[in-house]
Symmetry: C2
Subunit: 363 residues, 2 copies
Amino acid sequence: MIELLKRHIGEPLDSLMTPMPVIDEDRLAANIARVQSYMDEHELAFRPHIKTHKIPALAAQQVKAGARGINCQKVTEAEVFADAGFDDILITFNLMGHERLDRLQALNDRIGDLKVVADSAVTIAGLSAQFAGAKPLKVLVECDTGGGRCGVQTPERALELARLIAGSDGLSFVGLLTYPKAKGETETEAFFRAAMALLDAEGIDCPIRSNGGTPSLFSAHLVPSATEHRAGTYIYNDRSIVRAGHVGLEDCAMQILATVVSRPTGDRAVIDAGSKTLTSDLLGFADFGHVVEYPQASIIGLSEEHGTIDLSACTGGRPEIGERIRIIPNHTCVVTNLFDALAFHRDGKVTRVEKVAARGLVW
Amino acid sequence: MIELLKRHIGEPLDSLMTPMPVIDEDRLAANIARVQSYMDEHELAFRPHIKTHKIPALAAQQVKAGARGINCQKVTEAEVFADAGFDDILITFNLMGHERLDRLQALNDRIGDLKVVADSAVTIAGLSAQFAGAKPLKVLVECDTGGGRCGVQTPERALELARLIAGSDGLSFVGLLTYPKAKGETETEAFFRAAMALLDAEGIDCPIRSNGGTPSLFSAHLVPSATEHRAGTYIYNDRSIVRAGHVGLEDCAMQILATVVSRPTGDRAVIDAGSKTLTSDLLGFADFGHVVEYPQASIIGLSEEHGTIDLSACTGGRPEIGERIRIIPNHTCVVTNLFDALAFHRDGKVTRVEKVAARGLVW
């Protein structure tokens, strides 16, 4: 597929077949620059999460702008980025399983600065059993500061696990990490501060306090205890990030090109983008994406390769069969994950095609 | 990835890393046999939709059992199956766009029996412009018999389009097609019957009346005007099909192996399967899949690589960190589309690994 797409480089964007996610080069560059500038201003190390793009060339743009290292969610993703030369990788996952840990160890042996997280004695025991006698693995304790996913529930438990890591063969404790809830700055700061005080009282060094998330990205400075911030979605932005404030629809670098293939009734259009293009991620919205040309239109239903649009609220024109529309997705990160390659554009022309190199990897 | 998986052939199923969708060979074979037997009994031609598996070897099992041809949704999918030797392919999509139609024509030239659908004069004009002077393309008129997606709204309009197809260079009218709503047999039969009467009155032959869908599959005989039925999901089944009746959880051939990676609280477990494994398809359910070992557990939230499970209703045991669980997904067809390869098993051992050959194709 990538070869087919590459034939369009230099051609008009509209020469691409649909459905196809395309990335606006200028918006992409502006998103990277704006966030890096904010982080620089607040003296926060910035660690982009590559889950959003899974493309080494984009991580290189992020690092060139000033990012310090990258964030992956899987060992196999990290391998792709290590192959591309990235040397500072944080994997924010409780990693377990023989095959996965073997690969993690091989990865640790070949890059300079690999870090992982743990939130239980079981995870720590597994890591220690693997890394005892090998090059030590850096481990952060994951803290649940309100996000309600993984993480220890109290600063006291963070201390216990830090102690356990520090005392485990093959492991080195390097800090705390949270994936917070939106607008959870107060809770996160309180948790970090309390845990740091407990660690300090025992003389355990805690150089990294890693905070994260795009929706509350521009509030990262409200967590002064944090030393770094992680974010992924900001590079493209999407409808959910627009809703969070701070950015507008014009800051969304990813749009999905789609074609109206049917107009069964006056109020209904059907496009060639369904759940295998847009995904079913609603993220609190009532419909499946924002139609740029017809903002009053509502993508009310998705089957796998069809999207059904309700046009009844459209007071202006309505799209005709064969017409192309552009959609800003609810959630970019899951769209990326459906396509083997994406096309980029500037001034209405295709500039490049990038393979989504870390897509479809497991473990 | 496929090479990594193939190393596990012959090994215990539990040797596979998670998250991983796996297919039970015996359930798969039983699902194929049961549906084919029903169709044979009712003298309906059966045309499996390959969207569910996208694997030529499985389509071969379906055809070997008695299916007559296959159903694809994209030209590029059909190409993969044509490469694998399938000669009777129906693409149920209003196909348009220069590149797509060029490929469609090349496909028509190399297989014996290619058919597509159209529900508008625009689609028909595009097909005719492409196929005029070439080997004629067979076209069915898509009818909206209550499904509310694509399709002409009335039998009278079906007649008009049939007339248009029959009178268009390069095209041949071969029948009617619907993707009906669940339990829409009465409406579908009435629509087909009325359209057939109109066509008959004009002397237009209408050899194919194609009905479809898995949820109402075992009511296909309630549409006696239909000559064939199309269905995809039945080969694996999933939670949504179980809800529709006729099959049970024990008939679901696909399960997703996942590992509990965190137990932050007594009531919360986090697994390594998120929306990039299970997808966010709810299909009317309140949660994201059925946990086989803990049926009272509820997968209440998905982030991309984490699934959050509420255990508060579990009256028996609760899973521990490191424990493996199996999940029956809400919707199999979208899970397939996320993985480059799937593993199959029988008697607790991995039997084979199949590449999801038509995954990630566009157009």
